[in-house]
Symmetry: C2
Subunit: 401 residues, 2 copies
Amino acid sequence: MNGFDVRDGELVIGGMTLSALAERVGRTPFYAHDARRIAARVAEVRAALPPAARLHYAVKANPLPALVTHLCGLVDGLDVASGGELALALRSGGQGAHMSFAGPAKQAAELEQSVAAGVLVNIESFREVPLLAAASERLGRAARVAVRVNPDFELRGAGMAMGGGPKPFGVDAEQVPALLRAIGSAGLAFEGFHVFPGSQMLHGERLAVLIEQSWRLVQQLAQDAPGPLQHVNLGGGWGIPYTEADRPLNLLPVSQALAAVQTALQREAPGARLVIELGRYLVGEAGVYVARVIDRKVSRGEVFLVTDGGLHHNLAATGNFGQVIRRHYPLVVGNRMDTAEREHVSVVGPLCTPLDRFAERVALAPAQPGDLVVVFQSGAYGASASPSAFLGHPACADVLV
Amino acid sequence: MNGFDVRDGELVIGGMTLSALAERVGRTPFYAHDARRIAARVAEVRAALPPAARLHYAVKANPLPALVTHLCGLVDGLDVASGGELALALRSGGQGAHMSFAGPAKQAAELEQSVAAGVLVNIESFREVPLLAAASERLGRAARVAVRVNPDFELRGAGMAMGGGPKPFGVDAEQVPALLRAIGSAGLAFEGFHVFPGSQMLHGERLAVLIEQSWRLVQQLAQDAPGPLQHVNLGGGWGIPYTEADRPLNLLPVSQALAAVQTALQREAPGARLVIELGRYLVGEAGVYVARVIDRKVSRGEVFLVTDGGLHHNLAATGNFGQVIRRHYPLVVGNRMDTAEREHVSVVGPLCTPLDRFAERVALAPAQPGDLVVVFQSGAYGASASPSAFLGHPACADVLV
């Protein structure tokens, strides 16, 4: 069931049956992230990457400290998106030398923090150059920098396009030569490029084309670099399926494209790092959100399971976080997995708003108050991407098991 | 400008120019709520209500403690949606005897807390009756209750319909007689009814019809009540305009409808309270969200103002909180109000996601880093309805001025 085993009629998460896990957590609702599934996913990605490639985890997907610490032991580095994430990554066992920092509005204090921690800064604006130069001088160490490029090609098939056309992210490819001159003049320690044209890609062949295009762009831009190319970050954006209409990403073409890039990179810039950064793809499918049924109400023929979990904890799963088409995440009654019977129910949360709904007339095992609803695909952009204070309900628990 | 004055080329909020206010708050981004505008709005609503009607504030719209305290001095009671909001309301000066509690998944502990504090509970499910009876017995005081009714008519023209058809909110009108018998048998202190069929209504005539329909429904249901009718809460749902396409609510038909209800109520149940509960309508237009321009980037001909504020603080203003059509809130460069010149710009936040955008190619006064972007209509469903932890950026300040 979405990659989780079933035992004694219950979903198994982190080696425990769901009800045993709920007892251990001590309350509902909660998130649970399966450490072994994360490790298995990392191994699967490693097998698809060229052996020399570096794999980074993008902390923004899930900043739970225990999970970040777990990933520190599995991947080669972390990517952070703010000074807050940088501090959390350091606290959770990350090493500054193996981190990079991207973001369109980096503050002077965040840039200083990055230089002090030896973090590679992905420059997204000319504005950052003098700030990094000042920080370098004050701290007595040259800022390590890469250029985040807004490519001159469009990504087709991404859930969210983040490159091509006018964008707030990165520096337009055509402006990069001037930025490279500014970096050289300022005495910053240039290392390479970052190209991240989109996210939530589910089409392997298109992603492969994009990797090839990104690499050609890097080759071309590197001609104007103020120093040798040491670092090529081709982003991530590898998607996971959220609904039955989604097919899982085919890694084969991606793997082939990356192998070709690694070969060319090794030839043109021996020793340079090829970096792939993934967030959602590493953790999204290993996490579930669990809520308890509080009431079973029948209103004019429609059955509502009213749970203690809602959009305040898992906004995206209710289809309300920027989604244009409201599609709910897959879910089950996790302690009634052996029941063949089905009834059509709507699953809602405790908030006084019609937005607070996890499912609309889906076929589930008949449920009663006390039962546990499990929302799959909840490992990324869950708790941290939800309005936890909305309507004053308790915070949810969040565990790595 | 959206009801705020301009002085010395700057927006005036809480009697201060925007830049003086920003200095006083000490950092950006921040929310600021104008206490005088809230008071003026309450006075305006009072003038539209029958003199005997009670006005309540729905805390969920904005639970900022200072703002709740301010409203406690202006309105007759508070409505809460969780045990957390109830505790906050008590801490902020609210009195339990003048509060009501609604919500579809009330926990046993929340019901006990309500009984202990003397709060009127709007019962939304048969499930609550034995829990309230047990709490009444344990605490030695009868639970004060009203019945939240899911009406048998549809609200047309509401931003979000919360009544009519199958709904998780309230008890279907046709089930209410049985619920009233259960309340009587359990010895709970019955007081009346709550009908709240929708929110964000902008059409005064339709709202007036709805008030009349709700009242007729209450009259009919009251015939089966286990005690005299003392309380009629006809909800709120009064909307505010968010875009130029929205017209403000015309209060005249609403006022006339409520006057007729009050007259009839006084005749049929002398001394009974008519309650109107409003959240967004009281505070939504009195609050602004202020972010500082960090960068002014030009990408392929499009100007981006990159600010330090984003969807992590004001999700709805970016059009990403359950909105099907992404429409942004009105905004200005609040320290350049005397500039007649305009340029078309997109206003984005600091997050690494294309969702983090307050405006798309709007005409604003030309802005530079350091300038202050003001997002209007941000007084309700702002900070508390946003994913504050997303990407690890600092919390925003939130002040009543």
